[in-house]
C-alpha cells in the first residue's frame, strides 16, 4: 500500500480506537492508574477522601490500547496488501465518515457525562 494511503488508514483507525478505548474506561469502569498528588504515588484504586487524578491513566490506557491495536492493523496491512494497492476515492471517503461517526458520538458522550455529573443540565 502507498505510504500516504497507509498513513490515512492507520491514522483513522488510531483516532477512532483512541476515542473508543478512552470512553471505555468510563463505560466499563476500568481501574486505570490514578495519581495521588499529595502522596506522590500511583494506585489503581480510587480511595475516597483523598485527592486523586484519573485523567493520566485514562489517557495512558486509551493511547496504549489504541496504539497496540493500530500496530496490529498496520502489520496486517503490510503483510496482506501489495505495495501497489491504493485506496479508492470511495473507500477514502467512507473511512473518513466512519472515523467521524465514532469520534463525534464519543465527544458527545463525554460532554453529557460531565454535564450530568456536575449538574450543568
Amino acid at each position: 500500500m502507498k505510504k500516504a494511503d497507509l498513513t490515512y488508514l492507520v491514522g483513522s483507525v488510531f483516532i477512532a480506537l483512541t476515542s473508543l478505548f478512552y470512553c471505555s474506561t468510563i463505560w466499563f469502569s476500568i481501574a486505570v492508574p490514578r495519581y495521588y498528588p499529595l502522596e506522590h504515588t500511583w494506585k489503581c484504586v480510587n480511595q475516597k477522601g483523598l485527592i486523586s487524578q484519573g485523567w493520566y491513566g485514562m489517557q495512558g490506557f486509551g493511547f496504549l490500547a489504541a496504539g497496540i491495536a493500530t500496530l496490529l492493523v498496520y502489520l496486517a496491512l503490510k503483510r496482506f496488501c501489495s505495495p501497489n494497492t491504493a485506496l479508492t476515492p470511495t473507500a477514502t471517503r467512507w473511512i473518513s465518515v466512519i472515523t467521524l461517526l465514532i469520534v463525534l458520538p464519543c465527544m458527545g458522550y463525554l460532554l453529557c457525562h460531565e454535564f450530568v455529573r456536575w449538574n450543568i443540565f
Partner: protein, 167 residues
C-alpha cells in the same frame, strides 16, 4: 503547600512553586497554537474552494500547530496536579459547573492529542493538490481540532479569570 492534619509535615504538590510561571508559558504557547491553527484553517478552507496556491504555507502552519500543541499539552499535564489540589478544591463545592466545563476540556484534549498527531503525519505524507481524496479526512479533522482547541482556550481563560492562582 498543605499542612497535614497533625501538622507533622507539610505536603507539597509537584511543581507547585513554578505554577504561575508555567501557567504563563502555557498561555503564551496557546497564543502560538491558536495563531498557527487558525491560519492553517484558512489554508484548508482555500482547499475546499479549489485553491491550492499556498500549500507550503499551510503545511508550515500545520507543523507549528503540531509543535505548539505538544508544548501546550505537556505543560498542561505537569501543572495539572497543582491545579487539582488548589484550584479545583475551590471550584468543586462553589462552582461545580466550572469543574464540569474543565473536565470536558480535558477529555476532548485527550482525544484531540491523537487527532493532532494523525493530522500532522497525514499532512506530511500527501499534497492536497495532487491527492484531493485525502481531504475527506483532513478537512473535517482541521475543523474539529479548531472547535476543540477554541473550546479549550475559552474555558481555560474563563476559569483562570474565576480563579487563576491560590497565591
Amino acid at each position: 503547600m498543605i499542612a497535614s492534619s497533625d501538622d507533622e509535615f507539610i505536603k507539597t504538590v509537584f511543581l507547585e512553586n513554578c505554577y504561575v510561571f508555567l501557567l504563563v508559558v502555557h498561555l503564551l504557547a496557546t497564543f502560538v497554537l491558536i495563531g498557527s491553527m487558525s491560519h492553517n484553517l484558512l489554508g484548508v478552507v482555500a482547499y475546499c474552494r479549489g485553491r491550492f496556491e499556498r500549500q507550503a504555507l499551510e503545511k508550515r502552519n500545520a507543523r507549528v500547530f503540531f509543535g505548539s500543541y505538544v508544548v501546550v499539552y505537556v505543560i498542561g499535564c505537569v501543572i495539572y496536579p497543582a491545579y487539582r489540589v488548589y484550584i479545583r478544591q475551590y471550584f468543586d463545592p462553589q462552582l461545580p459547573w466550572a469543574t464540569g466545563l474543565f473536565e470536558v476540556k480535558e477529555h476532548w484534549g485527550a482525544l484531540a492529542t491523537a487527532m493532532v498527531l494523525v493530522y500532522y503525519l497525514l499532512r506530511k505524507q500527501f499534497q492536497p493538490s495532487e491527492d484531493r481524496s485525502k481531504l475527506a479526512l483532513y478537512v473535517p479533522l482541521c475543523f474539529l481540532l479548531n472547535f476543540i482547541v477554541w473550546y479549550k482556550v475559552i474555558v481555560g481563560i474563563w476559569l483562570t479569570i474565576l480563579k487563576g492562582s491560590w497565591l
